[in-house]
Symmetry: C2
Subunit: 411 residues, 2 copies
């Protein structure tokens, strides 16, 4: 059954220009969201390019997967704005831009002359998003930061991993990507404010502020005088059994939120005998005997294959999920049905698939309009649109002020 | 040094009305963001209230910390919209609303008569956000879902935890809260679209779609033919040493992104001898001997206290962070400097502190205007604003159609 094809409606940022001076993940992901919503996003890169272009494997036909993950629907311009000529070009770009987003080292852009005061005077309608590691005030304000270090600093690493084991990292960039999401949301808010006031505002966020939001409940718990949360593996503080259990050929995640579900679970795995065992009867007892209960149940679940357990737990109406690996996720029928993975043919990676913005509007994902760009792919086009002649562009390239992808440079 | 006090500017949603029919985390967190940005958010609760009101400890003076984490800046109305009278009230509310957000079980609101078609006809300007577990099409579309089960389903649990150990859970609600963030962002986008077209649209998202976005790079890696990522504890695929290392009194997170940093690290911990040891010399060798290198380095780092190592690594310019526990985070000077934790005195919890929206606009966080509400705290006010008389409200309460917090009910 195929869905009728319908062209997706362009997003509300169509006609707006975003200048993204960025590297790595936070600002690129935020910029990509703005591009998905229709903005013309011009990514300013150094001669060496965004760091992710050179991140270690995995690559696909030599193209960095990290870069391709966070840079579709945008243009690439290589520009050294620390040179006099380069600075003029950036000023020209910002004069007509709606949004400037940057995640350079704290203070770097201001040092090059682009303070909020200057930017606001240059273009009072410009919205300026300044992204940092630790926030814009305080003893660490000027320190650079990375997602994993901030996961450690903000308590997330301390809570992740086995009970009694070593602390672990969250394997997704929840601080970098989360900060990009807050930035994109804030741009939409700032645009609405601009519609009312006529002028842009200065938006600031950081990985640390994002991290504190993820741990809202634990932080309020500390304010209330409770102890810091400890590591519980795949478990949950107030409920046992809850978490990943071994099977003969993989893991299954089980959540027995109350004693009725627990009885149904025992029935489903032919373990009714455990229902009367001391320490297993009620949830508070099981929480008290967490490790024992988990180990004993794990012995029982490992007698079954994953497929057998999926059938039995479904029949018994026990909340559960397979613990899928990412290759299983990729092939899953439900994942396919979401339409989240979409082909975006790329000159070097013909079979490129990307992950859509995770929201539909009237049933449609926002359109994919442009591949992740080659370094400097759009330098010439953007400079020409600013009124630079072919001769001027050639000179700028020769002087190392800008760089163009080979096939784009004027002969 | 104190910052000059300045009243924060109200957000751009001031004057707009959001109806939130919700429970747990995803929709409440999204609704709270909209309230932070100025919307009047009317939360419709069942007689029993949002599930989080009864979540297991921790509580603060008997008030649920989970509920207080995700429900400030909104009103609480208890309403049974499945009764005839209740349905009329909900219709009256929606007629003048700008946004309806819900995360009920799939199909539940449509079954009560509130389909997108009906809503769009009732109020063509209404934006309808439908949040689900697995997305709105596909074999699992009608299944309810929870953050931890979806973490397992989407591959996140399979990647989290020790190398060779059991899979672990991410201890923050990155799917629930992330889905709330995407929803809030989509409302801002849909409002801009409405400014252009005059009509509201149907926004749909889900925990699964959010999860697939978090694992964008691993998914594209699978499409490229790479194997599924495996668990690496606090480590990182391409770099060793990288991760949490033991000290005499806690853990420290170290990132030695290149061989120069590795030499500086060895110098800082008096371990220059390891620089010449076979298998330790270059990053590719260290990645090959990951476990050995980590164990040997861990023996050395555990000879120092955390404070000693913080001083030594800072002096050697080696990227690092303490692995803070949440109580340490709460007391940290940098965290205080961000201003993210803010008092919001509550009738039952006088010392309540909440976590701000993690973004400042012109240096100001959005204002905190209302405590997390008692169940039905605003029922009477909202009904009166709809034109219901005191007699009518008394009858609605008596009939169990609505419920008011005790001190709010008409005598």
């Amino acid at each position: 059954m195929s869905t009728p094809i319908q062209e997706p409606t362009p997003g509300s940022l169509t006609g707006l220009r975003v200048i993204e001076i960025s590297t790595s993940v936070a600002a690129p992901f935020g910029g990509q969201i703005l591009g998905d919503l229709g903005a013309e996003v011009i990514k300013i890169e150094r001669q060496a390019g965004d760091d992710t272009r050179k991140w270690a494997p995995p690559a696909w036909n030599g193209e960095s997967i990290a870069f391709m993950s966070f840079n579709r629907n945008k243009k690439s311009v290589v520009l050294d704005y620390k040179t006099d000529e380069g600075k003029k070009i950036l000023i020209d770009l910002l004069r007509d831009a709606d949004v400037l987003v940057q995640n350079l080292r704290p203070g770097a852009l201001a040092k090059a002359g682009f303070t909020w005061e200057y930017l606001h005077e240059l273009n009072p309608r410009l919205i300026y998003c300044e992204m940092s590691g630790y926030g814009h005030t305080g003893p660490r304000a000027m320190q650079p930061a990375y997602d994993p270090l901030l996961q450690a600093f903000s308590g997330i690493v301390s809570m992740t991993g086995e009970d009694g084991g070593e602390p672990a990292r969250v394997p997704v960039s929840l601080l970098d990507m989360g900060t990009g999401m807050w930035m994109a949301m804030s741009v939409l808010e700032a645009l609405r404010r601009r519609d009312m006031t006529g002028h842009g505002c200065h938006v600031q966020n950081s990985l640390l502020q994002t991290a504190l939001t993820w741990i809202t409940s634990p932080l309020i718990g500390i304010a209330a005088g409770n102890p810091a949360p400890r590591r519980l593996g795949s478990g949950f503080r107030g409920v046992v059994p809850y978490g990943a259990f071994p099977t003969a050929d993989g893991h299954i995640f089980i959540s027995a939120g109350n004693d009725d579900i627990f009885r149904r679970l025992l029935g489903a795995i032919d373990a009714q005998d455990l229902g009367e065992r001391e320490g297993f009867t009620t949830n508070p007892e099981r929480v008290e005997n967490r490790k024992l209960v988990q180990d004993v149940l794990g012995e029982r679940t490992s007698q079954f294959t994953l497929d057998e357990l999926l059938v039995r737990l479904k029949a018994a109406n026990v909340p559960h999920s397979p613990v899928n690996t990412v290759d299983m996720v990729y092939r899953d029928e439900q994942v396919k049905a979401t339409g989240m993975l979409q082909p975006l043919p790329h000159p070097v990676v013909e079979d490129l698939e990307v992950v859509n913005l995770p929201v539909t509007f009237d049933g449609q994902y926002p359109p994919l309009t442009k591949c992740p760009p080659a370094l400097g792919e759009d330098t010439v086009e953007v400079l020409a649109a600013l009124g630079r002649s072919e001769d001027e562009i050639r000179a700028l390239i020769a002087d190392g002020v800008v760089r163009a992808a080979t096939e784009q440079a004027p002969a």
